[in-house]
């Protein structure tokens, strides 16, 4: 079982917590009357209280992961309902593992349920993206395959002017690595999690590279008179 850390790091094989091996009933929703203070206390209370809290929390995680898989189902339409639910179940299990290692970081600034949901959402979304791109090659040579500009005067103007400047900015202002990342993420539309996994890096590191690339492109366009000081084209 592999686990996605917030920020996208894959932290390798993590044993499934023994406490949650017993499955919760489908559709089970946790006791939302617990307060933000109650949840961490219950999850570390030991005994039957802790077991009950873990089952309820797993129910919450499963609800969130199924919700996420449903939202992104359009990316994995070739997978049947059983496989989709298996993805959600696995994501809930893995997200619970991550959450329990982060329990001490819960600050009570949000409701515990909202804090918990995000772990399951991240895990499920990452897995759906991975499934959607399984078996698909990702080109990393930094060569953009441009699509034809839209019809009409507006499209032609973009193609001949600003768009040309953007192409030059990519050639002149970006490093090879920045160009490769920008092309993969923004032209080839490779999901950032998928690209991170293929390159052995993290979502956070790729986003930082992308941010720097965009900053350089915008600076080039500003210097060339295509953006004003307010950043408008």
């Amino acid at each position: 079982m592999t686990v996605t850390e917030p920020g996208g790091a894959r932290v390798g094989v993590v044993p499934r917590p023994a406490e949650v091996i017993q499955p919760v009933e489908a559709g089970m929703v946790a006791d939302q009357s617990r307060t933000a203070v109650d949840w961490p206390a219950a999850l570390t209370a030991g005994g039957a209280c802790e077991q009950q809290a873990l089952r309820e929390l797993h129910g919450l995680m499963l609800r969130a992961s199924r919700h996420q898989v449903r939202r992104m189902h359009g990316l994995i339409t070739d997978l049947g309902p059983d496989r989709c639910d298996e993805i959600a179940q696995t994501a809930a299990d893995e997200a619970l593992t991550v959450l329990l290692t982060k329990l001490h970081t819960f600050e009570g600034r949000s409701r515990f349920t909202t804090w918990a949901y995000k772990f399951a959402i991240l895990q499920a979304a990452t897995e759906v993206r991975r499934q959607a791109w399984a078996g698909r090659e990702v080109s990393l040579d930094g060569t953009a395959t441009w699509t034809e500009p839209g019809d009409g005067p507006e499209g032609e103007a973009v193609a001949s002017d600003l768009a040309g400047a953007v192409v030059r900015a990519m050639e002149l202002a970006l490093t090879g690595y920045q160009r490769k990342i920008a092309v993969a993420l923004l032209i080839d539309l490779v999901p950032i999690d998928v690209l991170a996994e293929r390159l052995g890096t993290t979502r956070g590191a790729l986003y930082k590279t992308l941010h720097l690339a965009r900053t350089r492109i915008r600076a080039y366009l500003r210097a060339a008179g295509y953006l004003d000081d307010g950043g408008n084209s």
């Binding site: 920020g7 949000s110 409701r111 949901y117 993206r129 500009p149 600003l162």
Partner: protein, 95 residues
């Protein structure tokens, strides 16, 4: 007419993302901001940074949108005002 980037591609390549917020920071903040938007009418201090990041990072935008939808379902409230405050749903970015 030569082949070149489409208007959408130009927009993606030039999307401003200031003030800076990392994906890790976005994950750290998302539950706090979502709960504040859903449950209170207080101004949300971190909103500008989060909004800028979501405009530039479609994966984080998808996950925040999903969290917001789930939280609004629990609270039985309309998610539209909070989605608008976060700038969600106004782009056609990949997720």
């Amino acid at each position: 007419m030569s082949v070149g980037p489409s208007a959408d591609q130009v927009r993606l390549l030039t999307t401003p993302a200031e003030p800076w917020l990392s994906c890790d920071d976005c994950f750290h903040l998302m539950d706090v901001v979502v709960d504040q938007l859903v449950a209170t009418s207080r101004p949300v201090e971190e909103l500008p940074r989060l909004r800028a990041h979501l405009r530039a990072c479609p994966a984080c935008a998808e996950e925040v949108d999903s969290l917001l939808e789930l939280t609004c379902d629990d609270a039985r409230v309309d998610s539209a005002p909070a989605r608008a405050a976060l700038g969600l749903g106004d782009g056609a970015l990949p997720r």
